[in-house]
Structures are given as structure tokens and as C-alpha cells.
């Protein structure tokens, strides 16, 4: 039983349920407590001790069901009424000696299943990784179950002229082959799906956002949400941190005036931790737009950890898009914003001007300004004086550039002109680098 459970747990790990060694022990205890006779109870018990989120619970239950599903084994006596008659009239099984053939003919499904299980294990079925390996592994398993002997016996029976028995065995052999392949396919779902998913997510984490396929957006959104949750739980500190042990003497004395200043009621000093405020100014032209999409997704997944987000989108003009982003689903909102702001030629100088004229009130000494753009202003005036103004007014200015560093400053790129007025300028074009930047912003704020 131990091996069966262990392999189940391994399959569950592949399906995305995180299971530590300690939890394996827990699972065994739980299984011990409910016993193995009631499958539903066993499933509940294992789920309760292993799954830690709703997703994991669903994943585990699915794995459990797949793992313990047995396809009804096709029986060898099924093919026709005459076959049944034959077996009833004479159990003339002379020449049928191999255990496999005997089980097939006597319709011992449990026996065949047990053999298949054992052979599958011996053939290393849980190591299967690719779809193309299914046939190979199935063949290996059948060999171990004694397929060669079975085939030899069929040939021998034919030579002896016992066609009927041979035909029955032949049919059983075919059915067995199908079962073996089905078994291996199930193993593939159990043990390989997780690995493939993990690989895909690792790739996505580091793929250039501008080259991302549309069909990967959905998966990417999940990834971003997970990352944001992780960051949020790391920084969701209480707003007030009690500094226990530091007595606020002035206020303690004041409060205890009535007791002759004998300090019955003590007052402790508290320190306030401020949440960062963020102003995101995103270029939404061309290739930058895809990075902007994920930056905004990130920021809006973090609303609880931040004191406030204002977001602005610009290409040729600049608009406040906070309301749109808060009200609508992020994908729709971004499409809408792209239509609004349009793909006009980018003018950084004019956009900074609009920002400083109308939206400067959103910037104070707690604000982190994130500018996302390639700094290519189509040779319009860069207006670095305005950038300096923002720099002086805010807590931090971070410039995220989707372009790789060697391209900075080439052609119409003004990034080096803005650089002196930023606390940090960095390349940012994958989800992984976005996560690093957001993490960094939150840490700096504490």
C-alpha cells in the first residue's frame, strides 16, 4: 500500500500540489486513521491533509480519481455466444500454460489488472515523459506480463488445429494491447503533465513580453496574479507597528495625573509605516504597450499593499486612465485605452507638460513615479526641466525601459537625457524583471 500511496503523491506533485516530506508522513497517518476500505473517505482524508488551496484540492482530487480508475477490462469470453458455449462444454485448456493466457481465458479481470500494475511498475511507467513514449512503454509492460509466451502459445494452438481457442486468445491479446496503451496514457497524464506545465511557466516568466503570443495571455495573467499575491503577502505589514518596550513617558504621565502620576495605565510609542503611493506613467505606443499591460496588471493586483495608484497613459497626448482600469477588466480596459490614446507619434516633452500642468497634485514626497517607456520622443524637445521638477517633488523616480541597454541613446532615444533625473533606470521586458522591480519599489518604501 505504501508504494501505491507514494506514487500517487508523486503524481499529485506533478499536478501542481506542493507536498513536502513531512506532509507525506501526515498523509500516511491520515490514511491509516480512516482505513483503505472506503475510497471516498480515503480521498477526503488525503485531500484534507495535502491540499492547501482550492486549486490544489481540485488538482489532487482529479489526480486521485485518474490514479485509481481502472478501465473495465475487456473480457476474453465476450466475442461470441459460440465462444461461451465452447468454454462451457469443455474446459479443454490443454496447451495453455502461461499464467497470462490462463487469466485471460478464465476472465480473471482482477488478476490481469494486478499483473498489469506490477509489470507497469517494473517497466518504470511513472518515468514516462513524452506522448511519443506511450507505445514503447506499453510494449515493455506487455513483455513483462508474458506477451511473448502468449504469442507462442497462440501459434502452437493454431498448429494443433485448435482454431477456436486460438482465436479467443488472439482477441484477448488485442484487447490487452489497447488496455496497455490506455494505461500508459493515464500514466502520462499523471506524471508528465505537471512537468510540462512547469516548463512552460518557466519559459513564460522569462520570455520577452513584446514577443508574447496572444494565446499565452491567459496563462500569463495567472502567473502575474500569483507573483503579485506573493509580493503582497510579504509586504502586507500592519499599518502601525507597536514598538513595545518604549514607554511614551509624556503621555503616560498625562494619562495618570488622576492617580498621583503612579503609572497605572501605560502608553507605548507607536511607529507608523506608510504604504507607498504610486504614479505610473506608461507609454502605450507599439512595443511598449505589451509591457505596460503587465505592469498595470501587476500594480492593480497589489492595490491592498499600496496606498494608491494613479495611472496615466500617453503616446502623443497624456490621459488619466485610473478610473478605466479600476472599473473594467484589465484586458478590456487596455484595449479601450489604446483606442483612446491612439498610436500617434510619441511626444515625451508634451506629455510631461500635460502631466505637470494638470496632474501634479498626485505627486508628493511619498510617491514613487514609475515611467514606462523607451524614451524615443521623435526628436521633439525632451523638457528635462519638467523631469527635474518631478524628481525633486517625489520620493523616487523609476524609469523602466523595454529596450535592451545597448540600444539606449541610439537614434531619437532621449533616455540618457532623462537619466540624471531618475533614481533608477532599468531594462524591463519580462514578467520576471517586472516582479523584481515591483518588489524593489515596495522594499524601498519600508
Amino acid at each position: 500500500m505504501n508504494d501505491v500511496l507514494l506514487r500517487l503523491l508523486r503524481a499529485a506533485r506533478g499536478a501542481g500540489v506542493r507536498i513536502s516530506t513531512g506532509e507525506v508522513l501526515d498523509a500516511f497517518q491520515a490514511a491509516e486513521a480512516v482505513g483503505y476500505s472506503d475510497r471516498l473517505a480515503l480521498r477526503d482524508a488525503l485531500t484534507l491533509s495535502l491540499a492547501k488551496t482550492v486549486d490544489e484540492r481540485a488538482a489532487f482530487e482529479a489526480t486521485f480519481d485518474t490514479y485509481f480508475r481502472r478501465e473495465a477490462l475487456g473480457s476474453a469470453t465476450q466475442p461470441g455466444a459460440d465462444g461461451r458455449a465452447a468454454s462451457g462444454e469443455s474446459p479443454d485448456l490443454e496447451g495453455v500454460e502461461s499464467p497470462l493466457a490462463q487469466r485471460l481465458l478464465s476472465d480473471d479481470q482482477a488478476g490481469v489488472a494486478a499483473m498489469m500494475e506490477a509489470a507497469g511498475e517494473a517497466a518504470g511507467a511513472s518515468n514516462i515523459r513524452l506522448f511519443t513514449q506511450t507505445n514503447l512503454f506499453a510494449r515493455r509492460m506487455l513483455d513483462r506480463m508474458g506477451l511473448p509466451e502468449l504469442e507462442r502459445e497462440i501459434t502452437a494452438l493454431r498448429e494443433l488445429g485448435r482454431e477456436e481457442l486460438a482465436a479467443r486468445l488472439e482477441a484477448a491479446r488485442k484487447a490487452l494491447g489497447d488496455q496497455a496503451r490506455a494505461y500508459m496514457e493515464r500514466q502520462l497524464t499523471l506524471f508528465a503533465a505537471g512537468a510540462a506545465k512547469e516548463l512552460r511557466e518557466n519559459v513564460l516568466r522569462n520570455v520577452k513580453l513584446s514577443q508574447l503570443d496572444r494565446r499565452d495571455y491567459q496563462r500569463m495573467r495567472g502567473l502575474v496574479r500569483d507573483m503579485a499575491l506573493r509580493i503582497a503577502s510579504r509586504y502586507s505589514r500592519p499599518k502601525k507597528v507597536d514598538l513595545r518596550g518604549h514607554l511614551d513617558i509624556r503621555r503616560t504621565l498625562r494619562r495618570n495625573m488622576a492617580h498621583d502620576a503612579i503609572p497605572f495605565r501605560t502608553v507605548w510609542k507607536r511607529k507608523k509605516v506608510e504604504k507607498p503611493k504610486i504614479v505610473a506613467i506608461c507609454d502605450v505606443s507599439g512595443s511598449v504597450a505589451s509591457v505596460a499591460r503587465f505592469l498595470l496588471m501587476f500594480l492593480y493586483a497589489l492595490t491592498d499593499t499600496l496606498a494608491g495608484i494613479r495611472s496615466f497613459a500617453f503616446s502623443s497626448k497624456l490621459v488619466d486612465v485610473s478610473a478605466t482600469l479600476e472599473e473594467e477588466d484589465i484586458d478590456e480596459a487596455i484595449t479601450k485605452i489604446l483606442n483612446d490614446v491612439g498610436f500617434g507619434s510619441t511626444n515625451y516633452g508634451r506629455c510631461l507638460e500635460i502631466f505637470c500642468d494638470t496632474h501634479l497634485k498626485h505627486v508628493d514626497r511619498r510617491t514613487t513615479i514609475i515611467v514606462l517607456g523607451d524614451g524615443r520622443g521623435n526628436r521633439n524637445p525632451a523638457r528635462t526641466d519638467l523631469m527635474k521638477q518631478l524628481f525633486d517633488r517625489s520620493a523616487r523616480v523609476i524609469w523602466l525601459n523595454p529596450e535592451p541597454q545597448p540600444l539606449w541613446g541610439t537614434g531619437d532615444s532621449d533616455i540618457f537625457k532623462y537619466m540624471p533625473y531618475c533614481h533608477l533606470v532599468t531594462t524591463c521586458n519580462t514578467v520576471a524583471s517586472l516582479e523584481r522591480v515591483v518588489d524593489d519599489i515596495l522594499r524601498a518604501a519600508q
Binding site: 497517518q29 485531500t47 491540499a51 500592519p238 497605572f264 501605560t266
Partner: protein, 316 residues
């Protein structure tokens, strides 16, 4: 005592029957969780939307087993002094003030400083004894002679430091008070933690607990629950109510109605002497089920359709 708890709950079926007998209809998973919690002495972490009976489960367990229920509500800024124990500082101070003269008298007979210090040392422990200890929920639950059901409500509202601290207690069922030494549980309490997932709990915490997720119940189970709580509701109306609520849950609403809302609604319909659902009465009482203006608007248009379907299903 642990033995006797195990005797009270010898099997999953007995848990089911026991909880049902005090008016809590558990799903199969809930019974299994409680059974395992007693067997393996592990806390249960209960998650799920508001109003599906997380807190109720703790109450029912306590009632069935005849144990006291000790409840601790978590919030941002909760610390050990409020959760575990606190020295009765005011009382200590008051006693020293009152006993000042008495102590002075006692110390006067010593001519040397050493003698007076020795005498003082004897007093010292006096002020840090159990007499001046104010036990808070966690310590209380450890000190119950017959065991207890400890409900740590909304553990996700407390901060991470507190979570780590809680973990320490939940793993050994003992606490160390520096002045008094280690206090171990007489009988390990049955611990239920609830969470609304407003924050991701630490992995260590999740590992330590049985993870029970209570979702919205299926129609059959919900019917049983409403019937147990409100036996006056007639079978026909009961099925209509449950079917209607189940349909609401399939909609994309800001706050889906949970079991507690179903019960409130059934109560409201009883008071209005409704014998069956009709569109007007549903419209009038919709605010019992739905808590947001937008949700009411969204549902308002479909009330007729839902009521018809509920009637058809109930008639089957």
C-alpha cells in the same frame, strides 16, 4: 481524555450523526476533517466564503462533545498579551502600593543590606505568580481540565508574527511563560482556525493544519440544513427556496448568498406567511439575500424566470 474523545467519535459516520444531532448538517468532507482532527490531534484550517457555517461548525462541535468553546477573534495588531496571557499590571501596582508599609515594616528588622535583599527576593515571586496572571483565550484553552474547542476566527487578519507564534503553540500545545515556566495542555484542545483568504497564510501554518474548504452546499444538503434549522417550512416551499438560491449562485454577483442568507430568507418568508414563492414577494424580500445594490438590479430582471424554474424543479 483524548481517549474518551476518540470514543465519542469512533468513526466518520458517528461524527456526522453527532453534528446532525445538534442541528449542524455536515458534508462528508467536514465529518472526515473533524474525525481526523481528533485522531491526529491536528488543527483544522477552515476556509470558505462568509456565511457557510465556519464558525457554526466550531459551536456545533463544542456542543456535541460537551466541551467549552473558547473563541479568539483575530485582527491587525493582535499580540501575545491579548491572545495568550497578560500580567495584571494594575493589580500588581496596586498591591505594592498597599503593601508598601507592610513591607517596610518587615524590612526594618534587618540591619544589613544583604538580609533585606534576601527578604525582598522572597516577595519577588509573589507578584509574578498565577494570582496576577490574566489568562487570555489561548492559555485558557490549554488550562481547561476536560479539553476545549478553540476557535481562532479570521486568522488571516492577524499579522505574520502572530501566525508564527500561534504555530508554536499549535505544534506542542504548550506555552512558556518566562516567570512561571512551561504550561502544557491538560488535554489538547480541538482547534479550528477560520480564514477568509484576505491574506495568503504561511506555508508552515498550512502544513500544520488539515485544510478544509467549505463551499456553498449542494441543493440536497442545503435542503437538509434549512429543514433542520426551520422545521416549520413546508416541503414544497423549502424546495422552491433552495432552488431559487441555487440559481442565484450560478450568477456572477458581487456577493453570492450563502447558507446563512438562505436561512434568513426562509425565516422572512415564514413571517410573511408565504406558502409558495411568487414574483412580488421575492422582489420585496430580495434584500435579505443580496447585499449590494448592483446585485439586486442584476437579479431583479430575472426574478420571474428564476421563480418559474424554482417552481418547476420543486414540483418534480
Amino acid at each position: 481524555m483524548k481517549q474518551s474523545l476518540e470514543l465519542l467519535l469512533p468513526s466518520i459516520q458517528s461524527v456526522d450523526a453527532g453534528l446532525s444531532s445538534v442541528g449542524y448538517i455536515p458534508s462528508r468532507q467536514i465529518s472526515t476533517a473533524l474525525f481526523l482532527a481528533v485522531r491526529l490531534q491536528k488543527p483544522i484550517l477552515v476556509e470558505g466564503p462568509a456565511g457557510v457555517g465556519k464558525t457554526e461548525l466550531a459551536k456545533a462541535t463544542a456542543q456535541h462533545l460537551g466541551l467549552p468553546l473558547i473563541r479568539m477573534q483575530c485582527y491587525d495588531g493582535l499580540d501575545e498579551s491579548k491572545a495568550l496571557y497578560e500580567w495584571k499590571y494594575g493589580k500588581q501596582l496596586l498591591y505594592t502600593q498597599i503593601l508598601k508599609d507592610k513591607m517596610g515594616e518587615q524590612l526594618r528588622e534587618f540591619s544589613s543590606l544583604d538580609g533585606a535583599l534576601d527578604k525582598l527576593n522572597e516577595f519577588d515571586d509573589l507578584f509574578f505568580s498565577e494570582r496576577f496572571l490574566e489568562p487570555r483565550p489561548l492559555l485558557q484553552s490549554l488550562k481547561q481540565p476536560g479539553g476545549a474547542v478553540l476557535l481562532v476566527d479570521e486568522v488571516d487578519k492577524a499579522d505574520e508574527e502572530f501566525e508564527a507564534f500561534l504555530l508554536e503553540i499549535l505544534s506542542d500545545y504548550q506555552v512558556t511563560i518566562p516567570e512561571l515556566g512551561t504550561i502544557s495542555a491538560i488535554v489538547p484542545p480541538i482547534v479550528l482556525l477560520t480564514s477568509n483568504a484576505s491574506r495568503d497564510l504561511g506555508d508552515a501554518m498550512k502544513r500544520r493544519c488539515l485544510h478544509l474548504h467549505i463551499g456553498y452546499p449542494e441543493a440536497k444538503l442545503e435542503e437538509r440544513i434549512v429543514h433542520t434549522r426551520l422545521p416549520q417550512v413546508e416541503a414544497q416551499l423549502l424546495r422552491q427556496i433552495v432552488s431559487f438560491v441555487q440559481q442565484l449562485r450560478s450568477m456572477d454577483l458581487r456577493k453570492l448568498p450563502s447558507v446563512s442568507e438562505t436561512l434568513d430568507w426562509a425565516r422572512a418568508l415564514l413571517l410573511l406567511h408565504a406558502s409558495h414563492l411568487d414574483v412580488d414577494i421575492v422582489r420585496d424580500t430580495l434584500n435579505v439575500l443580496l447585499k449590494f445594490e448592483q446585485d439586486m438590479e442584476a437579479v431583479g430582471k430575472q426574478v420571474l424566470e428564476f421563480v418559474e424554474k424554482a417552481k418547476a424543479e420543486a414540483a418534480l
